[in-house]
C-alpha cells in the first residue's frame, strides 16, 4: 500500500528534505498472461483499469502504452469538463463523469485540481439561442443543472468579454455552474497511481503490434516487449483505434484528424470561467499558471501528425480577439495537436466487437477529457460483465447499422 498523500505527509517530508517520497507507480516487466489487457494508458484506459479493479474486483490487469503515460490526448486537451449535452445517453454518461470528477481527488488520494469554475457556451446567432434554450430544457429533464443566461449575466461572469462584437454579438449563453476544468496530467497520474497500488501493471514504451485470435476470440497481443496472453482485451487508444481494429481484423466507423490547442504567455488572473464560442469557433479559459488556454479547430482531412494546420490557429485566434479584445497583444507560447477519433454522429463508441473478448472504447472525438471517469466506469462494466451497463448501452457500434444515432454533431455544433 502506498503512503497516503496528505498535509501531514507534506509536513513530514518537508522536515526531512523530501527524501522519503516514493515512486507514484511501479515500472514492471510484462507477465506472460493477464485476465485483462487495456491498450492505451491515457485517461480513458487508466480509468477503465481503475474501475475494473475498484468496482469489479478484476485486478490481474495490464495497461500497455506505446509512449508514455498520459502523453497522448490526455496531455493535449484544454481540460474542459461539462455535461450540458442534448441527447439523453450523452447527458447520462457525461454527467456521471462530471459528478465523479467532483470527488475524484478524494477517491484517488491525488489532487486532480478539479475547479468547477463554470462553463458558458455563448449563443451568437438566433439559431444558437434556440438550440441552447432547448438544451437547457433537455438538461432540466435529465437532471443536469444548466441554465440559459442573458448577455448581462455573461458580462458579469466574464467581464473581459466583448458583448457587441462586430460580426457576432453575444446574445446569451448556456451556463453550467458546476462545469469547469481539472489538471489533465494529474487525472492520468492519479489513476495510474491507484491502478499500480491495486497490483496492476502499467507498462510504458510497449507498443502493440498485433492481436492474436483463435476461433473468433482474442488470445493475446504481440508487443515490442514480447507476446502477452489475455482473456479480455480493451482497446482504448483514441486516434489510433482504427490501427488497432485493423490488427484485430475489423473496421470501425472512425476517422482520425488533428485537433489543436495553444496557450498564451501567463498573465494575471483575468477570467475565472470557461468560455466556448462555437459559432466563431474558439474556446478559452485561464490556467492556474495564468496562461490563456485556447482550443481551436480540427483539420478536415485524415491525419496522424499531432500538429494541425496553421490556418486553424489564425481562425481561432481571430475569433477570440473579437470576443476578448484584451488578448490582442498576447503572445502565444505553445501550440500542439492531438489525434482525435471522429465518429459519424460525433458520439463515442463503448462496445463489444466482432471478435470475442475484445472491447473498444473510442470515438470521443474532440471532447474526451471531460468523459474520462464516466467512460472508464462504463467500459469497466462492459469488460467485466461482457455486456454493457445502462451508461454504455446506447453507445454500441451497432447503432450505425440500425440507424440509432446519438446525434450530438448537430446539437453540440463544432466544439465538443
Amino acid at each position: 500500500m502506498k503512503k497516503r498523500y496528505s498535509v501531514f505527509a507534506i509536513a513530514k517530508e518537508a522536515a526531512r528534505h523530501h527524501l522519503g517520497w516514493e515512486r507514484a507507480w511501479a515500472a514492471p516487466s510484462p507477465k506472460p498472461k493477464y485476465d485483462a489487457i487495456i491498450v492505451g494508458a491515457g485517461g480513458h484506459g487508466l480509468a477503465t483499469a481503475y474501475y475494473l479493479g475498484k468496482n469489479h474486483g478484476l485486478r490481474n490487469v495490464a495497461i500497455l502504452e506505446k509512449g508514455w503515460l498520459g502523453g497522448g490526448n490526455t496531455g493535449r486537451n484544454t481540460t474542459i469538463i461539462r455535461s450540458n449535452y442534448l441527447q439523453d445517453p450523452s447527458a447520462a454518461i457525461y454527467e456521471k463523469s462530471r459528478s465523479l470528477y467532483e470527488t475524484l481527488s478524494q477517491d484517488l488520494n491525488y489532487n486532480i485540481m478539479f475547479s468547477p469554475r463554470g462553463v458558458i457556451m455563448l449563443a451568437q446567432t438566433q439559431a444558437e439561442i434556440r438550440g441552447y434554450q432547448r438544451t437547457a430544457h433537455a438538461n432540466a429533464l435529465q437532471g443536469v443543472k444548466t441554465e440559459w443566461i442573458e448577455p448581462r449575466r455573461v458580462k458579469e461572469l466574464c467581464p473581459i468579454i466583448n458583448l457587441d462584437g462586430p460580426r457576432y454579438p453575444v446574445l446569451g449563453g448556456l451556463y453550467q455552474a458546476r462545469g469547469g476544468t481539472a489538471r489533465h496530467d494529474a487525472v492520468a497520474w492519479g489513476y495510474a497511481r491507484a491502478c499500480s497500488d491495486m497490483g496492476m501493471d502499467i507498462i510504458q514504451q510497449c507498443e502493440v503490434t498485433g492481436v492474436s485470435t483463435e476461433a473468433g476470440k482474442v488470445t493475446g497481443v504481440t508487443t515490442t516487449k514480447g507476446d502477452i496472453a489475455c482473456d479480455k482485451l480493451g482497446i482504448v487508444v483514441a486516434g489510433h483505434s482504427s490501427a488497432l481494429a485493423d490488427m484485430a481484423g475489423f473496421r470501425l466507423p472512425i476517422e482520425s484528424v488533428a485537433l489543436q490547442a495553444l496557450v498564451s504567455e501567463p498573465i494575471k488572473p483575468a477570467m475565472d470561467v470557461v468560455i466556448m464560442a462555437n459559432t466563431v469557433h474558439g474556446y478559452m479559459s485561464q490556467s492556474d499558471k495564468g496562461e490563456m488556454v485556447i482550443g481551436g479547430g480540427t483539420d478536415g482531412f485524415n491525419n496522424y501528425t499531432q500538429r494541425g494546420s496553421f490556418h486553424h490557429i489564425e481562425e481561432t485566434v481571430r475569433a477570440l480577439v473579437e470576443t476578448f479584445p484584451m488578448i490582442s497583444r498576447l503572445k502565444m507560447l505553445r501550440q500542439w495537436g492531438g489525434i482525435v477519433d471522429m465518429t459519424g454522429d460525433r458520439s463515442p463508441i463503448i462496445s463489444k466487437t466482432p471478435v470475442g473478448g475484445i472491447f473498444v472504447n473510442c470515438g470521443w472525438g474532440t471532447g474526451g477529457f471531460k468523459a474520462i471517469p464516466g467512460s472508464g466506469w462504463a467500459m469497466a462494466e462492459l469488460m467485466a460483465k461482457g455486456e454493457p451497463g445502462p451508461l454504455a448501452a446506447e453507445f454500441t457500434v451497432d447503432r450505425f447499422k440500425v440507424g440509432k444515432f446519438i446525434d450530438e454533431s448537430v446539437a453540440a455544433g463544432v466544439a465538443h
Binding site: R251, L252, G300, F301, F310
Partner: protein, 109 residues
C-alpha cells in the same frame, strides 16, 4: 500547410483553397443493398496510418472534385488525379510503391 495540385487547372492550391471530402474509391451501396453494405459505405472507413486515397474539391478554384494520394503520418502527397475513376491510376501506384516498398493497393470490398 498541405498543398495539392489541382489536376484540372494545374494550380498548386493550399488547403485553405480546397475542401476535403473524405475517403476515395468507396464502393457505393444504395437501395436494395444489405444493411451491412450500406453501413460500410456510409460509415466504415479504412482510416489508415499511412497511404490514404481521398477526395478533395478545388472549392475556391475550378470547383471540381479530384482525388489525391497522401500519407497521413508525413502529409507527403504522392499525386493527384481526376475523380472520374474507380481506382488509382497506374502512375500514382508506381510513385507510392517506389517510396514505400512492400506497399500494395487493395480495393475496398
Amino acid at each position: 500547410m498541405l498543398t495539392l495540385t489541382c489536376p484540372y487547372c494545374g494550380t498548386h492550391a493550399d488547403e485553405t483553397e480546397l475542401a476535403p471530402g473524405g475517403e476515395a474509391h468507396l464502393k457505393r451501396f444504395g437501395p436494395g443493398s444489405s444493411d451491412e453494405d450500406f453501413e460500410d459505405y456510409l460509415f466504415r472507413r479504412a482510416n489508415p496510418k499511412g497511404v490514404h486515397f481521398e477526395r478533395w474539391r478545388h472549392a475556391y478554384g475550378c470547383g471540381k472534385w479530384f482525388l489525391a494520394a497522401r500519407c497521413t503520418t508525413t502529409l507527403e502527397v504522392y499525386g493527384t488525379y481526376p475523380a472520374q475513376t474507380t481506382e488509382p491510376p497506374e502512375h500514382i501506384l508506381e510513385t507510392i510503391a517506389a517510396k514505400r516498398p512492400g506497399w500494395s493497393w487493395e480495393a475496398d470490398t
